[in-house]
């Protein structure tokens, strides 16, 4: 299988490998895929709650070179984007950027899912925080 030079680059020099603290209220964690399928991606984002901008992103992936490259590229793109801009990232953008062949398109789909899962997790945490703040603001009856 011939890999595009960009996929090879991401594989040899992956960007933003690592983890952010899961308990941090401003960190959203997405874990998608399954070992039986041969693809598991963990994508994390730290979002500035005031500006809604993603100021850090990290990933870890169990999968082929294309899966690793897709998730590495995703973290590169996420940093500096707002939440809404992040949700606008389409798997087809990843396919184009990495020149993924048809048999590897599902890797880009999983990366898009990972982005959405991470942001949803952040939103859930923000929602929970808001509810908690509301409850705390209620004067005790």
């Amino acid at each position: 299988m011939a890999y595009s030079s960009k996929v090879i680059d991401h594989y040899e020099n992956p960007r933003n490998v690592g983890s952010l603290p899961k308990e941090d209220p401003n960190v959203g964690t997405g874990l998608v895929g399954a070992p039986e399928c041969g693809d598991v991606m963990k994508l994390q984002v730290r979002i500035n709650p005031q500006t809604g901008v993603i100021d850090d992103a990290k990933f870890k992936t169990f999968g082929c070179g294309s899966a690793i490259a897709s998730s590495s590229l995703a973290t590169e793109w996420l940093k500096g984007r707002t939440v809404n801009e992040a949700l606008a990232i389409k798997n087809t953008d990843i396919v184009t950027e990495l020149s993924l062949p048809p048999v590897k398109i599902h890797c880009s789909v999983l990366a898009e899912d990972a982005i959405k899962a991470a942001i949803n997790d952040y939103k859930k945490k923000q929602g929970a925080k808001a509810t908690l703040a509301q409850e705390q603001a209620q004067p005790a009856l």
Binding site: Y3, Y11, A34, G38, K60, T61, F62, C64
Partner: protein
Amino acid sequence: MAIKLPIYMDYHATTPVDPRVVETIVPYFTQHFGNAASRNHPFGWEAEEAVDKARKQVADLIGANAKEVVFTSGATESDNLAIKGVAEMYREKGNHIVTCVTEHKAVIDTCKRLEKEGYRVTYLGVQKNGLVSLDELRNAITDKTILITIMTANNEIGVIQPIAEIGAIAKEKGILFHTDAVQAVGKIPFSVNDLKVDMASMSAHKMYGPKGVGALYVRRRNPRVLLAPIIDGGGHERGMRSGTLNVPGIVGFGKAAELCRTEMATDAERMGRLRDRLNDKLHNGLDEIYVNGSIERRLPHSLNISFAYVEGESLLMGINDVAVSSGSACTSASLEPSYVLKALGAGDDLAHSSIRFGLGRWTTEEEVDYVADKLINVVTRLREMSPLYELAKEGVDLATMQWEVH
């Protein structure tokens, strides 16, 4: 000694032709180019003589009579001929075949075709070590069983089946026994009489011979096996396989067989040592790696290992100057993980993490060391990038986790 890159460690897939074999073949292209079936002139006679010599060389390798060797285009054809040939010829006697889930596709797909034509096939499962259970085999046999076909050594995991014991059961029940012996012949001792085998498929390009030629051993005595041919047209090979013989290929096959017979013991001992060296280095350098299939009942040059938490294709990318293969779905055209590894019950995630190493006649110690060191580095790096490794280190039981599959 400088290592030549890339390193070839995929000898189960194919082998380079031994230069001594190439030397033997060349005159049969331009000088002795006759058709072995041309009865009327010296061009034909010398071609026939060369074929006869090669036939004996192949027969000697497996302890058979030269008359029992049928040349084909390769083991896939031999498997087809054996299974379809028996099925058609013995249709009156029965319509049931017993085989195994870990067989090569040439056997499995042939059986599946026969099922469409009304035959019944039992696919025996294997134990965790890759071996069939003799009791299960016995229980699967019915009064309609006309053929048992079980491979001698598995191409993916290198495991050697209890062929002599299966042969004894087949003999006892009066059922024909075929074995796909492709990976075993020329590598380990293989005697059709000791093993009580009635038919055996062989391939030249797996034993340092040319591609495009193989053979089927067909027993002539006790019992005499009759086969319906699958290729018609002229009645060559005692009516069992029509078609002009591939004389250069056959000559090469014969020479390769002779070299294997005389050098098998030293080759096996040397390769066994190198294979063990590779295995030991990997086990010393990495934790959570698992050999797939029995370690004791295994070809001397074969090793199949799963590297937990790391996916096979990404591993191969990291050792891109080494030629091996993987059981990962990503490396197969169908995106299905290896069915052989699945049959061992290891779980898909370990199938995705497996690498098959096949050493060979020209593998060196330096190559083994290079491969081991490189692999240890790559696995370590990929584990740092693996969410599964991270979860496992946190003490999470991956088997019970809920995965968000899309």
